[in-house]
Amino acid sequence: MDISLLDPNYAEMLKARDALYQVMDPELMVNIMDLGLVYDIQFVEQKLHVLMTLSTPYCPMGESIVAGVHHVLETTFPEHEIEVNLTFDPPWNHERISPEGRLALGISN
């Protein structure tokens, strides 16, 4: 997920991104940012919207991952209302994993 330097909320976006690095996928033991599960973060007034996916629809760990996103963002941005939206368009695939995530998972390039 890229963050534009020109974005007026650039500093907050970086803060949100850093917070999301703390949310782990319990099965893969890698954080959701490195897995490429987060598609977009947007600040609209007092709301923080997160658009993300799961590695598979009806992922058994889906509830805990979404709860984790809420918890870390509520702690980081207590004055914001957090909204997490799930999408499977485009569906996740392992090409989205960052080089750090690939290293952690022992994935070949």
């Binding site: 799961l54 918890h71 998972l105």
Partner: protein, 426 residues
Amino acid sequence: MADIHIGKAPPLSAVLPFYATGALYFMALCVQFCLSPDSLTGHYFNPHLLAMVHTAALGWGTMIIFGAAYQLLPVICERDLYSSLWAQWSWAFLTVGTLLLVLTFRNFEAGIWMLTGAILIAIAAILYFLNTLLTSGLCKSYSIIRLFMVTAAFWLFITIIIGYLLALHWVRPVFQQSHLEILRLHAHAGLVGWFLQLITGVSSKLIPMFLLGKSPRTIYLSMAFFLQNGGLILFLVIGFFFTLTPLLILFTSLGIIAGVFCWLLYVYDAFRHRAKKKVDMLMKHSLLSLLCLIAACCCIPWMIMQSGFQSVFMYGTLIFMGWITGIILGKTFKTLPFIVWNKHYKSLTGKQKIPMPKQLYKQSWVNLQFYLYVFGLILTITSVAAKTSIGLQISAWIWLLLSLVYVGNVWLVLTHRPKLVANEHI
């Protein structure tokens, strides 16, 4: 909140009792093997072996599969489980029914209690079938994996009905054929219809998921479905209404084996295109179990040609202890710790430091379990081949030790209580 429904996992009471009971039945199976290791040297139709086979097939294999399926059906079918209550009732019926059946088989008391056991298991199978069918939503959106799940559940019911009629036949004659002929049909309806198709369906979803692999060649799965079912139906129809000559057995078996081959091709394709190159111990368990299935298929021509029972014992050992046990030993710790973890820590992620699912059991015990499994299996098979009583006795004790390690690890997971570090935030 999310605008796409994530899906709620079924309650623990619909899943965990199956894992706990299955582990205990596995130990009961190994205890029976220790008590009568020589039952693998005489005729295969003997009370102790019948009791052991039904402990393995129902108390161990079917029990764990029911539990895992109730957890995984929502993942595979992308819908919530239709009824958790039916799942709980199916556990009660399967547990009591299996106990009755095993006890009556061990003393070979064909009669009211054996029939009652069979009826209870049939009720469990009906509940499972309806739950699978209604969860799958097969009529609304088709997928070959869902079709495998539903068809397997149907075959389980058919297997139990044949089993019930067989138990009735021992009280008053039902069939014109020999009970050994019907026993063969009953066994293969269970092995090919229930276990093979269930494992084909579940593994085709889970192995690529765990290895981050993918195969676009679902045509292999469709071919596997038609060949496995076609071969089995032909085998049963000929067996019931005509005579199964060695040539016909070979012909129908080849159809089923071709179906197995198509499924393995799909798994291999997903394995070859996996992103995760490192294969963990639990996946090795599963992959080794597939080799046991291939070895069991290789025994079939030998069984047809040989007049003794050695090949039958080899085949049975490879199927029950190699393939089914191997896949369960491998998959238990890929599912159970996550189910328990989800219950305790789901609401705490991102709030506090919490253990990960892999920390709910001892990895060193899983490693030990793997080596005992390999050693126990090799020793059992070589002892059956060489007809050595002492080898079978030693292998039985290895299996018992393995079951203790497995039960211990399952116990650790089931009795886990949340461990939080006070005031420590992430």
